[in-house]
Amino acid sequence: MNKIFISGNHTFGEAAIRAGCKCYFGYPITPQNELGEYMADRLRKSGGIFVQSESETAAINMVVGASAAGARVMTSSSSPGISLKQEGISFLAGFELPAVIINVMRGGPGLGNIAPAQGDYFQATRGGGHGDYRTPVLAPASVQEIADLTIVAFEIADKYRTPVMLISDGMMGQMKEPVIFPEHVKDLPQKEWALSGRGKGKSRYLASLILDPLEMERHNWKLVRKYKEIEKNEVRHEEYMMEDAEIAVIAYGTTARIAKGAIKRVRSEGIKAGLIRPITLWPFPSRALKDISERIKKFIVFEMSTGQMLEDVQLALAGKASVSFHGRPGGVIPTPAEFARYIYRENQKENKCL
């Protein structure tokens, strides 16, 4: 497969088709419209189903139906639309149905704006909808990684029978980069659990209503055991210039790219900074952070929000290292120069204390 120049939003779509996604249901919202448009054309041409729903709520419930029938299925939206999908995501978690949900984040709360932001971290990693569940969350930081992780998302979804969220932002969605797509997935997993009519066998049902509290509790603990498996097997992160680092920057997605630029700048001034980039936001690479805190005592969290992943970093470090935070919410994209200045100042503070 040749290298092609393609946007993030189109890449989500193309990668999903290559992952064997059979159905896409969605509702227009900026800055992810190109994804739905891509599916309207390409998914249908490849024999799949595209339906433009009447709402985000309807879209996610169409996803539930198609998933229950055994199809690889996806929906996408941006922040306000993802709020509307949370009902269905909770049902997917309760039913234990696989699906891929893409959030191309924008500024908020409310309608906010259409500029890139990372304000939906809590919503994505804490479950988002009602009830006691988790959603695996993948955060690509390049268009190539969008292609690779979209396929991983379908695999995790099917392997653990869970909704999986891919989280990016308006910049990742709109930006074009060279991408080499993986080959079409040939062998899709068999789904014996899918509803397909009882045939000559026993009838089955999928219900999330479990009136007996003890039985509901059993279901909750069953989900927890699954989440423990995911925490054990699926944590992903990248380390950049960490070998000799004395300051660890934690950033994901777009901010991780900006952080890399800033790290190069401060290194030219002799400040040994490095980057730990969580690729999975849940499960969070807490273990890696904890291990690194054995030798590095200064952590800087960098987000396009007012400080959400910050809390996961604080939990992971459990007071073993100092944590400071630089954030630009509301759709403001910080520059590498700006963040380099922040690292530089933090480094100076540290030296003064010494």
């Binding site: 059979k22 159905c23 249901f25 189903i49 339906v51 729903s53 009447e54 709402s55 709520t57 309807a58 879209a59 419930n61 169409m62 996803v63 539930v64 139906g65 198609a66 998933s67 229950a68 029938a69 055994g70 199809a71 299925v73 009902e87 269905g88 049902f91 509803l195 397909s196 009519g197 009882r198 045939g199 000559k200 009838s203 089955r204 049902y205 999928l206 219900a207 999330s208 209503l209």
Partner: protein, 250 residues
């Protein structure tokens, strides 16, 4: 006359009903189960059941079932049918589910002409939550949230959603029936048969609205409640075929 009791193939045996005495759901369930068998589609059928009294319908129907979030039945049915057009997909929904919280899903699935069938139980109240006012509650009808009777100036008028969707080109068959009398029950079975056939023939969306008694929440005895369907509900919701475009579509 052959009165031999024949148990429908797709209705589970030896289950105790959770429906109240006199409730119309049991009759509607049995009709659906009989039609699934007569049209020979039960083996490939998936029923999407609602949030509401029929949330436990999987206890009775011996076919594959998917519970829906409140009001989202026809969106879920859309997902199933689009992913697996070979399956026979129908939703079974109450009036709160279908014509209040699920209005958008109902209207747009109908307007897309999804190849699904909808069984719509209209009992003019929210049953499972204890008898609150529904969009279908009659003018003057007392409920727990319209304690002095539904006042159109304050609560608006009963919503005729089946009439709304019947006007859509994609809706091939829509009929309103009632399970208030033996004749009504026979008509209901015929309506369900016509509706299900539309899907088997692949000609589009069909809906059957079934007026059904809820003696518990209407605070009536069974006989009064069946009379109330006949005498009061049918005045607001006249019975009959609301649209039949089967010939045009074939």
């Amino acid at each position: 006359m052959n009165l031999k009791n024949k148990w429908p193939k797709y209705y589970k045996k030896d289950v105790v009903t959770h429906y109240c005495p006199g409730c119309g759901h049991g009759i509607a369930h049995r009709i659906v189960a009989e039609v699934l068998e007569e049209l020979d589609v039960g083996d490939r059928a998936i029923c999407v059941n609602p949030a509401g009294c029929a949330v436990l319908a999987y206890r009775y129907f011996d076919i594959d079932m998917l519970e829906s979030a409140h009001g989202r039945g026809t969106a879920m049915a859309t997902g199933i049918k689009r992913a697996r057009p070979d399956l026979f997909v129908f939703s079974y929904q109450g009036d709160g589910d279908l014509s209040a919280i699920g209005t958008a899903e109902t209207i747009h699935s109908a307007n897309r002409g999804e190849h699904i069938s909808v069984i719509f139980i209209n009992n003019a109240v929210y049953g499972m939550t204890g008898g609150q006012m529904a969009p279908t509650t009659l003018v003057g009808q007392k409920t727990t949230t319209s304690p002095s009777g539904r006042n159109p100036d304050y609560e608006g008028y009963p919503l005729h959603i089946t009439d709304v969707v019947a006007s859509f080109p994609g809706v091939v068959y829509a009929e309103r029936v009632a399970v208030d009398t033996p004749a009504g029950i026979r008509k209901t079975k015929k309506a369900v048969t016509n509706a299900f056939r539309c899907q088997i023939d692949g000609i589009g969306y069909s809906i059957v609205e079934i007026l059904s008694p809820c003696p518990t929440n209407w605070k009536m005895n069974t006989i009064e409640s069946y009379k109330w369907v006949t005498e009061e509900m049918t005045k607001e919701f006249p019975l009959g075929v609301l649209t039949d475009k089967r010939e045009k579509k074939k």
